[in-house]
Each structure stands twice: as C-alpha cells, then as structure tokens.
Amino acid sequence: MNEFVIIFFAITLIYFSITERFRIYVNLIAIQGVLLFALSFLELEKITLGTLLFVAIETLVFKVIVVPTLLFRIIRKTGEEKVHEKSMPGFYSLLIVSAGLILSILVSFSLKTTPGNLIFFVVSIFAIFTGLFLIISHKKVFAHLVGFLIVENAVLLLSMAIGSQIPMLINIGILLDIFVSVLILGIFVMRVKQHTSELTMLKDD
C-alpha cells in the first residue's frame, strides 16, 4: 500500500513539470498533503501516536487546508493564473524532471539505504530536485513559493525515510517554518505584484 501512495506522490511531482496553471499547482500541493498524511498513517507502527497526531495537524490541517487556502487567496488577489509565457516549455521540463527521477534512483542506490525505506528515499530526493527545478526554471515568484513547499514536503518524506524518531522540537520547528514562511512570503507576493510579478531590479551594474 505504501508503495502505491509514494508512487502517486512521485506522479504529482511529474505533473508539476508539465502544468502551467497556478490553480493546478495549489491542488497538487493539497493532494501531496493528503498523501503525506496517508503515508504517516501507514507508517503508524514505526511512529508514536503523538507524532501521528502532530503529523495529522501538519499535513491535513496545514498542507491540505491552510496553505492551499492562502495560495488560492494570493491567486485571487494578484490575478496571476499561469506561469510566465517565457518559461521553459512543458516538454523540456518533463524531460529534465524525468532525468531527475533517474538521477534520484541512481543516487539512492549508490547510498547504502535499507530496502524498506529505499522508495521513500528515492521519492524524497526526487521531490527536492523537482522543487529546486521549479524555483530555477520559473520567473514568477508564485512558482518559487510552490517550489519551496515541494522542498518542505520532501523534508517531511525524508524524515519518514530515516526510520529513527525525530524529536518533537524539530517537528514544531518545521511546522513553524512552513506556516510563517508561507504567511510572510504570501504577504510579500501580494506586495510584489503591485510592482511586478518578477524580481529583477537588484543587479550589479
């Protein structure tokens, strides 16, 4: 069952590379939140009930409800619906992201991970790659914000992959990081829109 969920998670990452509409980006982030909760639930034997409750708040409440609501609000306020027309075409993005998936598999196999967490490891490395790729390949700040959220999801997936228990303090830190970052960045995205949806004024010339 875990394998199906994690493969579905990987498919959402591939979908990020070909889609152009910001609303789909937000829906994919929400779907990833549900999948992460499902994975945490299926891993219940390895984590404590307290951690599961915490993960439920982090995934279902924040990643599925709070963050997407905030992102939809940003889309409404800014009127930004699609990625920049000069962004990399979907076909090339798909090729690069597919190459990233192969690279993630190669990297994971070269590390001495146990078979049980190998697939978690592959997909979390792939998610880091996809998040960073989304940031560097798009001009609009909204896409950067979504890229950042994918990297944060990768971090959560990686923490499941390691098997050992993560102190609650770190979980609280991650939650704080996501919430405050999205809140602050959201405020700034709306202000940036008043000037431009790209950030290219600070230069060395």
Partner: protein, 479 residues
Amino acid sequence: MINPGAIVIFFGSLAVLAGGLVAFLRSKLAIRMLTIFFVACHIAFTLFCWIHLRETVLDYFTFDPLGVLLLSVLSLLTVTTVFHGFIYVKAESPRRYAIYHSALIALVTAMSGAYLANGMTSVWIFVEGTTLAVAALIYHDRTPLALEATWKYVFVCSLGIALAYIGILFLGFTVGNGQMLNLSFNSMAEIAKQADPLYLKIAFVFVLVGYSTKMGLFPMHTVTVDAHTVAPPPISAFISTTLMNVGFLAIFRVYALFSLTTIAPFMNRVLIFSGLLSLLVSAGYMLKAKHNKRMLAYSSMENMGIVAISLGVGEIGYYAAILHILLHSLTKAGLFYQMGQSYKVMGTYQLDESGNYIKLFPAGAAALLLGLLCITAIPPSGMFISELYMLKAMVIRGDYAYLVITSLLLCFVLYAILTRVLHIVYSQPRNPVQLPDVKVSPWQTVSQFVLFGMVIFICIVQPASLRDIIHEIVQGLPK
C-alpha cells in the same frame, strides 16, 4: 547562588516582553527607554554568561567560549546599532519606529539564542527566528528594492534552512530504526564517530550550503549581498557582522563535531573551495561595483571567504578564522555606520555621484580612511594578523597553489576598495548631484573610531585573555 537556568528563562521572557511591548507602544521616548533597558539587560546577560563560562543550562543552552565570545561582539554592536538606529529612524512615524525597534530586539534575542544553543535543533530554530526578525528590518524603507531584497532573503534563507535540516536528517540514517534522534552537540559527536563517512559528507555539504545563506558564502551569497545593500545602514552593519557570525557558528559547530572523523580532509577541501570561490566572485563584483554599500556587502562575502579558507587550511588557520571573524565584525560595522553618514552628507550611494567627502565632512572622511586601513588588512589593522596567519598556515602545509590564488585575489580586492574609497574621499564626483542640506554631527563618528581603534589595538597588543580563549575554542580541532 543564582540558578543559571532561571537567568536564561528570565532574559528570554524579558526579551519577548520588551519586544512585544515596544511593538504596541506609540511614544518614541518610551520605545527608546525600553530599548535602552533591553540593551543594558543584554550586556548584563553577556557578563553573566562569562561568569558561568563552560556551563550547560536547561539542556538546550551552553555557555561555551565561542558562543560567549560572539555574544560579547553582539552586545557591543547592539549598543552602537541602537545608537545609530535612533538617529536613522528619528523622523519615522511612531508605528514604523515601533516596528523597527521591536524587530531589532527580536533579532538580537534570536541571535543570542543561536550563539548559545546546545544542539543542532535549537540552532536551527533560532536561525529561523533571525530570518523572520530581520525581514521586518530589511523592509523598513518600504521601497520596491527593499521589497525585492526582503522577499529574496526570506525565501532563500527559508530554503537554506530546509537544506540544512536535510543535512541534519542524514545524520539520522546512522541512528538505528525506531530510536530517538538526539541532536545535542555531545550526542552528535557520538553519532558522528559511528557514522558512515558518506552520510557525514552529505550532511556536511547540506549544512554548509544551507547555512551559507546566513554566512554569505558562495553559492548562496546573492541574497545576503542584496539585503546588506538595501537595508537601513545600521541594520546592514548589524546583519553583515553578527548575523553572518550566526551562519559561521552553525557551520563551525558541525565542522568541529565531524573534524575528528575520517571526513576531515574532505571538509577542509570543501571549505577551501567555497572560500576561494567566494573570494573570486566578490573580487570580480567589487572591481565593477558602482554602489558604495554593495561594494561593502561584497567585502563581507570576501571576508567570509577568508574565514572559510582559514578554517580549511587548519593549524594556525583555525586561530586566524576566529580572530578574523571578530575583527571583521568590528570593522565592517564601523564602515556601514559611516556609509549611512556619507549618504546623509552626499545624498547618494552611487560611486559616480560620490566624491569630495574630505571637504564635506572631514570627521566622516577620517573615519572612512581608518576603516579602509582596517578592512584592507594594512598594518596596524588587526586583520593583518589574521590574514597573515592564514597565509602562514598555507606555507606550513605546503599549499602554495592556494597561497598564490588567495594572495592574487586579495590584491584585486585591495585595488577595488582602495580606488573606490579614495575616490569618495578625495576626488570630485563624476556626475555631481544636488547635495542635501543635512548636517551630521562629528560626534556621531565616535562609535566608528572606537570600533576601528579596537581593531588596531588587537594588532599591537593581543590580550592574553583573548589569545587563551581562542586557543581554547580551537584546541579540540585536529592538528
């Protein structure tokens, strides 16, 4: 006998209370009084940390020599930054005046926590806190440039912190399945000893890249350069010194923990590589810099490169790294304060519009020239000693290639700073602009002379207590 843990809790509560109260106050006098009270408490807290040196309190904090030394620099620069901040935001609305000081108190508190943290988790959380607090300060002027710099800074730092956390997670792979991952420094030292070197290497690279967003090292330097350029000058002074020190400390902690494992040579190579690239990039951009504050921002990057190289070459280089980080803090803070005053006098940060500063504001020009002497490591600048020690370490190790490259790049940096600062002081502006009708009191330069004086003093007399504390900091590192 006072319980150190109670004092830490008391100071933390007081900082939260003071910061919160200042945010809601609308009387500038009350804000000033409360800020001064906080600064006095911070100095008292630093003295308390010195008295309880080497003690660990509440499990999450430790008063180790490096943390307390950097905390002392923070205390000192908080005094000067608050003083220059009072002048900078004098004419602001009460609301913005309050937000500025509240964010400053939050930043000082978060940085103090990061210096004294006793584990990677607490360091990580306090570093996150510094990012949030500093965002309000960088955005203080509410200009489009400030908006862009703040967005980039918050975004890249948040990403950097996530990457650093991935590095920390890699350590978790070495702990058994189902066991609790304890990330206190003592526990991490034990984990590192048993860890697979490959995971340690990955962890170190992620931590280095992640915290480079704070330290301003290549390749994550761009946001710090932008932030230092755009922030109000007292804040530029603060974040290009004490906040960069937070990044250095986080990287140094991990370096020190892993240095007794087999990956020490790998870490040294990575640090030297990152340091040399930082030096190369900063030298290149400084040679074409047309913005006075941006030039100083790249100079900070260059100095962090020197620190990384010093750490990488080891031996006496360790000593040089710690000394350099201290002296750079004092020098760069003074220079940024001076840059704020030069802006008031000349009405511009653009190099081509700047000039004739010696006639416009002689006291400021004298401070700028003294600062130039200090930052370029020309004797009697204390930074001459630290850079000499770095080069000496290269000779001892026989790293002549590094020696030649570093010396060459330092020559480019020296040329870039000298020509630009001397142009500001002595030459006529290439594109003259209307000078603002603002008078700056020569007394406002006193803090800069004091800071530069300390840098020169350390070149002439290195107090035994300072030498001993630096030796204690580096004694655990491999020879």
